[in-house]
């Protein structure tokens, strides 16, 4: 891992949504969707992000590529701070960083043909002009993504969910980016289609050495595609480690609970499920101390008083828990 090149560094990234209208001031009541997150992403790897609904996974993804303006913190992509770019500079940078959306229905404009959907970014970034070269490129792109190129004049509503997601993937690959954020790209699809789409994404990664941030709430899917996995809870990164390490040796009580809740297809191997008690607290009134303490079966006094720092319990295994490394 160490010899790999860092493509993206996220440092103390915060995204707060103020409850009041107007500009955010320190101390205003706000939703802390992304609260002080730091991690690195290496070239050609996949970082899985998991967590419950509302834990800020998608907001993190969107803040990294600046669909949302970060409240504070740095996003350093290829040595440059994305958060400080002007709109114009940002537009040029979009060629390198792309996004795959969750909903294959609302992410495609219903009034454009597939060809136009795929050609638009290419023309907008001046890579091609209308003409036979563009036609050939788009058709090749469709073939690579498993869409028959003779479908290029069809409209999104003439496709199934899986095919639409292929269009979404093709669109994100059109500009040949080096980094893609995938925001639950398969959660709206049937299980049988999910594996096809994930394999397509893996093939593309091998072909072009793309780095992915793969956001999902499905731990099995994340296990399949990721090299490293980060677990998020209420806007914080609770644990971040190598895939095998985190699944075999989870150090945060929350991660343990999540992994314990993965359904197993074999009834004889069914473990005793340790379901987490209670609901995820509101992002406005974040519990004092460790964010997980009200639901943590191991919570001690210190957990209710003091927010734990992120510890590196093993090389490249980070845990945000007072007792990290002791489980």
């Amino acid at each position: 891992m160490a010899e790999k090149r860092k493509i993206l560094e996220v440092k103390n990234l915060k995204k707060y949504f103020p409850l009041k209208k107007g500009k955010y001031k320190e101390g205003d009541p706000c939703v802390k969707a992304v609260d002080d997150i730091t991690f690195d992403l290496y070239e050609g790897e996949t970082l899985g992000l998991v967590g419950e609904s509302g834990c800020g996974k998608s907001t993190l993804g969107r803040t990294i590529i600046r669909l949302y303006e970060p409240t504070s913190g740095e996003v350093i992509f290829e040595g440059e701070d994305v958060a400080k770019k002007s709109r114009k500079e940002m537009r040029a940078l979009r060629e390198e960083m792309q996004f795959i959306f969750q909903d294959p229905y609302s992410s495609l404009n219903p009034r454009m043909t597939v060809f136009n959907i795929l050609a638009e970014p290419l023309i907008a970034h001046g890579k091609f002009k209308r003409g036979p070269e563009l036609d050939a490129y788009v058709k090749d792109l469709m073939d690579r993504c498993g869409l028959p190129s003779y479908y290029c004049y069809r409209y999104p509503h003439q496709f199934s969910g899986g095919q639409r997601q292929r269009i979404g993937i093709a669109r994100s690959l059109a500009l040949d980016p080096s980094f893609i954020i995938c925001d639950e790209p398969v959660s709206a699809l049937d299980v049988s289609i999910q594996s096809q789409i994930i394999n397509l994404m893996k093939d593309m990664q091998e072909e072009k050495n793309i780095s992915y941030i793969f956001i999902s709430h499905d731990l099995s899917v994340v296990k399949h595609i990721s090299d490293r996995v980060g677990v998020m809870y209420l806007g914080s990164m609770m644990e971040l480690a190598d895939k095998n390490e985190i699944y075999s040796n989870p150090q945060h009580p929350y991660t343990r609970a999540l992994i314990g809740a993965i359904p197993l297809p074999d009834p004889t191997k069914r473990k005793e499920m340790k379901v987490i008690q209670g609901e995820i607290p509101s992002n406005v009134n974040i519990p004092k101390g460790c964010k997980f303490n009200p639901r943590c079966p191991f919570a001690k006094d210190i957990c209710r008083e003091q927010e734990p720092a992120t510890k590196e319990v093993k090389p490249n295994h980070f845990v945000k828990c007072h007792f990290g490394g002791e489980f």
Binding site: R62, I65, L67, M90, R91, A92, L93, R94, E95, Q98, F99, F101, Q102, D103, Y105, S106, S107, L108, N109, P110, R111, M112, T113, F115, E120, P121, A124, H125, R130, L134, D135, Y150, Y151, C152, Y153, R154, Y155, H157, Q158, G168, R171, L175
Partner: protein
């Protein structure tokens, strides 16, 4: 690459491309009532364009020796008090009435789309300001307002009256459309394909003209159609009261005005009944088209 309806494979299989417009047109064609409305409206438009020049009269062709002739003979629909041909005046009046409807609808669409579009797309304070302004215009009592303004504009030359009437109707009717457009754009802005545009680095210009407008246009078309029908009615009402298009230029409204004379009302029905019927037929047919378009563009059935 030009748009194509279908790609034929070597195997002979046809891959059809069914766009939203094709779907809408197919659904509209299946709607018999709407198609009837469309055919009637097309016939009326052709008639008002073709019939007046065919008859070869002009607005000031008085023939005082032949007043109030009954229908038949040289004058198919008879003549009026000044001996003018009623058929000629009926279709020339139709031209004016339909023109007023079209111009008023166009003004409404331009104002409504621009104001609603800016409001929805940019949001914030500008949105607040524009929408409050729209509410003020919306709350003006439409008919009294138009009568009051029209009566202060008596200095406008009579040949220009139809334009001032259209302008007035347009200027007072845009807030409804502006609100609709704004609402639609607010909804669209949250759709993931708009965020995808941002992520793909697509310019604001393309975002508005390629992504937002095509998704609003169906709503605007339906609204403009219905707006046109109501503008024709408003014009008829105004002209009936003598505040709209005034003689000698005919319009369906001021032809119906002749019925205010009780002698004409009782004895010369050919002078005013046809205008009333034509006006009714036109408004009904436009409304049928509008309803048909509304069903045809129903986004729920696009999936």
């Amino acid at each position: 690459m030009a748009k194509k309806d279908a790609v034929v494979l070597e195997s002979g299989e046809k891959i059809e491309s069914i766009g939203p417009w094709t779907i809408a047109w197919r659904k509209f064609r299946q709607n018999r009532v709407a198609m009837a409305g469309l055919i009637i409206f097309i016939l009326i438009v052709i008639a008002v364009i073709v019939i007046p020049p065919m008859l070869g009269y002009s607005v000031n062709d008085y023939d005082l020796s032949n007043p109030n002739l009954a229908p038949g003979g040289e004058h198919l629909l008879g003549t009026d008090k000044q001996g003018r041909d009623c058929l000629f005046r009926l279709f020339l009046g139709g031209r004016i009435s339909i023109m007023v409807g079209i111009i008023a609808a166009v003004i409404t669409v331009i104002l409504g789309c621009t104001i609603g579009g800016i409001s929805g797309y940019y949001g914030g304070k500008l949105d607040n300001l524009l929408m409050r302004f729209a509410e003020i215009v919306y709350s003006l009592p439409f008919t009294p307002m138009i009568i009051a303004v029209a009566s202060t504009m008596l200095w406008v030359p009579q040949s220009q009256k139809m334009y001032t009437v259209s302008l007035l109707i347009g200027l007072l009717s845009w807030p409804g459309l502006a609100r609709l457009v704004r609402g639609q754009i607010l909804t669209l802005r949250e759709q993931e394909f708009m965020q995808a545009c941002e992520a793909l680095g697509i310019s604001d210009f393309s975002k508005i003209f390629k992504h937002l407008l095509p998704n609003v246009i169906s709503l605007v078309i339906v609204n403009a159609t219905l707006q046109m029908a109501s503008a024709i009615l408003t014009e008829a009402g105004l002209s009936f009261l003598g505040m709209g298009v005034t003689a000698p230029t005919p319009s369906w409204g001021n032809l119906m005005n002749l019925a205010r004379d009780s002698y004409v009302f009782q004895n010369y029905p050919w002078e005013w009944i046809p205008a009333g019927l034509m006006c009714l037929l036109t408004v009904i047919s436009i409304n049928l088209i509008g309803e048909g378009l509304r069903d045809a563009f129903d986004p729920k059935e696009l999936q």
